[in-house]
């Protein structure tokens, strides 16, 4: 039974598209148990969901699982958005999976997930846009910046397709443009590392 968090958790939302699986692997390889909850929205066909989840789970000390409707957020957990349904956060504490039209030609959409985050005192809110085609994530990054979040986009050299990070950066709302390794280091620096007994 998941524990109910006493404090507002730190939340990280990562959006990625084409090339994302290998960039996510690079980002999560060696990722320690972060003091926060990570949500990943990767554009992908449904039959890939479990495989990507298992691959990422093998890369990090954190627990990676496919998000389910009603999941209560737990620190040190990574929730991968399943295909063909939008993912939103409810009061920054629980996951809601909602049927809906495609946004930016995709479902789930990074923008939908990021724009569901609420400004909460005492919690870090971090948005990251990785490789991919199109502009999904750009509005979400802008929104997160407006609610005092911290925002990052992948750099051009390591992006398989720079379109999504570029669109995010062009909003003027991106704080850091980084390689996947630098993003991992920045997350450790910002959130800190826990051991499961600290929870």
């Amino acid at each position: 039974m998941p524990k109910t968090l006493k404090e507002n958790p730190n939340i990280v939302i990562i959006g990625s598209s084409a090339g994302g699986p290998r960039i996510l692997k690079s980002l999560f390889t060696g990722m320690p148990f972060l003091n926060g909850c990570v949500l990943v929205v990767q554009h992908m066909p449904k039959f890939v969901n479990e495989s990507l989840c298992g691959m990422l789970d093998g890369c990090t000390d954190m627990t990676v699982r496919l998000a389910e409707d009603g999941d209560k957020l737990e620190r040190g957990h990574v929730y991968l958005a399943p295909s063909e349904i939008h993912l939103e956060l409810e009061k920054n504490r629980a996951i809601r999976l909602l049927q809906g039209e495609k946004v930016n030609f995709v479902c789930p959409s990074v923008d939908v997930a990021m724009k569901s985050v609420k400004k909460t005192p005492g919690a870090l809110l971090i948005g990251i846009v990785l490789t991919g085609m199109g502009k999904d994530g750009a509005e979400g990054i802008q929104y997160l910046k407006e609610i005092d979040g911290i925002t990052m986009a992948q750099d051009k050299n390591t992006s398989v397709i720079f379109s999504m990070p570029r669109e995010a950066a062009q909003t003027g709302a991106v704080d850091f443009i980084c390689t996947p390794n630098e993003i991992r280091e920045k997350l450790v620096e910002l959130l800190g590392v826990m051991t499961p007994v600290n929870i």
């Binding site: 084409a18 090339g19 290998r22 554009h43 066909p45 890939v48 085609m133």
Partner: protein, 124 residues
């Protein structure tokens, strides 16, 4: 039937090169020279990674993937673009849920094999 790689390119030299590289890594490879050929293979039940060129006479790479989507032929198929176009055109925006990766020609042989092997594990 195990998972294999299907290479779709109108350039026979690319087909031969990719086949040689992947077979050196014990990956089973099939090749076709057109989008129509790709759709036919999918109808015959091909499952695996499909490496698709973008610029081809007749159906281009995007039209080929759209035809596969429309024909409900994308189950257990991972599409990766293998193209000389450094920047994808706007057609990709509509198909990004189906295209997991994008490799630009000329490519590094080891990297190509490594990326393809990784995606083949997703199909097991």
């Amino acid at each position: 039937m195990g998972h294999a790689v299907l290479v779709v390119d109108d350039d026979a030299s690319v087909l031969n090169t990719v086949r040689r590289i992947l077979e050196m890594h014990d990956i089973a490879v099939e090749t076709v020279e057109s989008g129509d050929g790709c759709i036919q293979k999918l109808k015959e039940g091909f499952k695996g990674v499909v490496l698709v060129d973008v610029v081809m006479p007749g159906m281009d790479g995007w039209d080929t993937i759209q035809a596969a989507v429309d024909g409900e032929l994308t189950q257990h198929v991972i599409f990766i673009m293998l193209t000389g176009k450094e920047v994808p055109d706007a057609k990709m925006d509509y198909l990004k849920e189906y295209v997991l990766d994008y490799i630009i020609k000329p490519f590094d042989a080891k990297k190509l094999a490594s990326v393809v092997k990784e995606y083949l594990t997703y199909l097991k």
